[in-house]
Amino acid sequence: MIDKKYRFTIFEDFATADFVFDAFGETLSDLFVACAEACFFAMTDIDKVSPRHELDIELGEENRDELLVAFISELIYLKDVEKMFFSKFNVDVSPDGRTLCAVAGGEHIDYNKHVIKTDVKAITHHDLRIKEENKVFATRVILDL
């Protein structure tokens, strides 16, 4: 399925038990936003999640792949601890891909308001490698459900 509204493509039959997508962005920051949107798209209809509460995230890792894993891991952690779904992401990844500042906007999980699809346990490193071709950053991501 190609979702034109968002910048990710979900691979429906790639893995039997997991959620697999390819994400794209003109910048690393855009790519990270696309991955964050896909992660919450797996869990809920993100159009119904109002970004009324904002949380700040600052992270540093040794390379951009690890930084992406750390960023999505942080969002999954915040989902459990704050009991929140997120739908709006402002991300600023440094040019060397080793640090980021982000703001994640969302609201408390509400079973009367939100569409509940599934839970995401973790992001895996499987096949995750950020590539840059023709001024587009792209990577495959597999989430463990």
Binding site: T16, A70, K79, Y111
Partner: protein, 481 residues
């Protein structure tokens, strides 16, 4: 990849099929199941065969399917000195497992109250993303939970005395080290004790339905007496606590691999030597998550017993609601096996595989010494589940391991394309299976057709002799996370 049949239901991928393989890979499957397995299984099981310190074979059980790192259904044994420990050989959901509770109730007694019962269970057992449990713990209390496991439940009124000896390893993995657990894992797990979670996790009310080749005598010893008897099966794990520990250590093992000069074919096989400080630390954290999962399933059992008490107006003891057994199927444990004629301590990784110790194994509680360890195999929510027992053959052949479930054959998305959750719920009700779910999309993903035929998978392990068929259970009501 060349796969040759070395015995009935046993296939081998030889050393020359991938550079770096230290042992051959072996897959237990019928011809038909072998054809159903995706190529990813063969690639992943041979990646496991390349890991340092692996002994004899990298195994995959007949319910195997593509995972990340290890395949689901993967079993591997590592030397305690030369070998590694890998979160990818255990899974993010550490000590995901299954337990079975028996009752003296019959299907005729339960059917008229099934809706009431399901409502009570749905209220008392929180299910789905973002749900908290009813056990209020401070940090010290949660440290006690993850250090002591099931005995904490007994001391705090969540377990009967007889429950503890009916849990694998008495519900406590030794070596739990709370200091190896991150603050994040504490924060993620502290309010989730007694919650079902999501994905393929469920709480099911079942009816005993013996097949002709079930071992009724053994079943009777385990409290499974007759067709039509009601049982309850619970499938879940360590929740966000275990997921966070898996996440933390997969990240920290990258530098550890460089430090120890370990190279793997897959980043998800990140690992550290068992004997290294990093490896020991992960083992200590993993044991904490294993204990949290034993407690999680026990607290759910407590809430299930209370729900039955409310609906049937009798104490759970009067309803005969004893625990039959509780197994872990995502775990690493130190066990002793004969290697080159010598008893050798090994770290057995089981990812989507169940321990299956045979009779006389000293690790078993006295009550199971004669019959072997009960093995619980959860099928899809439409097709039923099995109680097996472990065998000596499993100890000789597969490091005391057998399968864990039916095994998926269809992706979650493909299942959702074939059926809507609400339609599936209606269809299941027509089949006599009531469903409550936190997510209709999640329900569709778990449709029976998304899984292998469980009877076929069970037949293979029964015929290979790594476990024996004892009883079958058919679902009549299901709560899906």
């Amino acid at each position: 990849m060349d796969k040759k049949k070395v015995a009935e239901y046993i296939w081998e991928i030889p050393l020359d099929q991938k550079p770096g393989m230290r042992v051959p890979a072996r897959i237990i499957a019928s011809d038909a199941l072998m054809q159903q397995m995706d190529e990813g299984v063969f690639n992943q099981v041979t990646n496991v065969a390349c890991l340092p310190g692996i002994r004899q074979y990298a195994w995959c059980m007949p319910d195997g399917h593509w995972g990340y790192g290890f395949p689901i259904g993967g079993v591997a044994a590592f030397d305690m000195e030369e070998g590694i420990i890998s979160p990818g050989g255990i899974g993010f959901d550490i000590n995901c497992g299954v337990r079975l509770v028996r009752t003296d109730l019959t299907v005729e007694e339960v059917r008229p109250k099934l809706n009431l019962l399901l409502d009570a269970l749905f209220r008392n057992v929180p299910a789905g993303v973002g749900k908290s449990g009813f056990v209020n713990l401070n940090r010290k209390g949660f440290e006690d939970v993850i250090t002591h496991g099931a005995s904490w439940c007994h001391q705090n009124g969540y377990a009967w005395e007889s429950d503890v000896e009916r849990i694998e390893q008495r519900g406590c993995l030794p070596g739990a080290d709370p200091s190896a657990v991150s603050d994040k894992a504490f924060k993620r797990g502290i309010d989730q004790v007694g919650t079902l979670g999501s994905g393929n996790h469920y709480l099911e009310i079942q009816v005993v339905a013996f097949d002709d080749d079930c071992d009724r005598e053994t079943a009777e010893k385990l409290g499974i007496l007759r067709d039509g008897q009601i049982t309850i099966m619970i499938h879940c794990g360590s929740r966000g606590f275990g997921h966070q520990i898996g996440t933390d250590y997969l990240q920290s093992f990258g530098p550890a691999m460089r430090k120890y000069g370990i190279v793997t074919n897959d980043r998800e096989l990140a690992c550290a030597p068992i004997s290294s400080p990093e490896g020991k630390k992960y083992f200590g954290a993993m044991a904490c998550a294993a204990n949290a999962a034993f407690v999680n399933r026990q607290v759910i059992t407590h809430n299930v017993r209370q729900s039955f008490e409310r609906v049937f107006g009798q104490q759970p003891e009067r309803l005969g609601m004893q625990l039959v057994y509780d197994v872990a199927h995502n775990i690493a444990k130190v066990e002793t096996y004969q290697i080159n004629g010598k008893p050798t301590k090994l770290l057995i990784h089981r990812k989507g595989a169940t321990r299956a110790f045979g009779p006389e194994n000293p690790a078993l509680s006295d009550i199971f010494r004669q019959i072997g360890q009960p093995v619980l195999v959860g099928g899809s929510m439409q097709t039923g589940s099995y109680l097996l027992v472990g065998t000596k053959k499993a100890e000789e052949l597969t490091f005391g391991s057998t399968l864990h479930g039916a095994g998926r054959v269809m992706s979650r998305s493909a299942a959702k394309r074939q059926v809507r959750g609400s339609d599936l719920q209606q269809q299941m009700e027509k089949e006599g299976i009531l469903v409550r779910t936190a997510s209709f999309a999640g329900l569709a993903e778990e449709a029976g057709f998304a899984y292998k035929n469980i009877s076929e998978v069970i037949d293979v392990v029964h015929k290979v002799g790594i476990s024996r068929k004892v009883a079958r259970f058919l679902p009549i009501a299901n709560i899906k996370g």
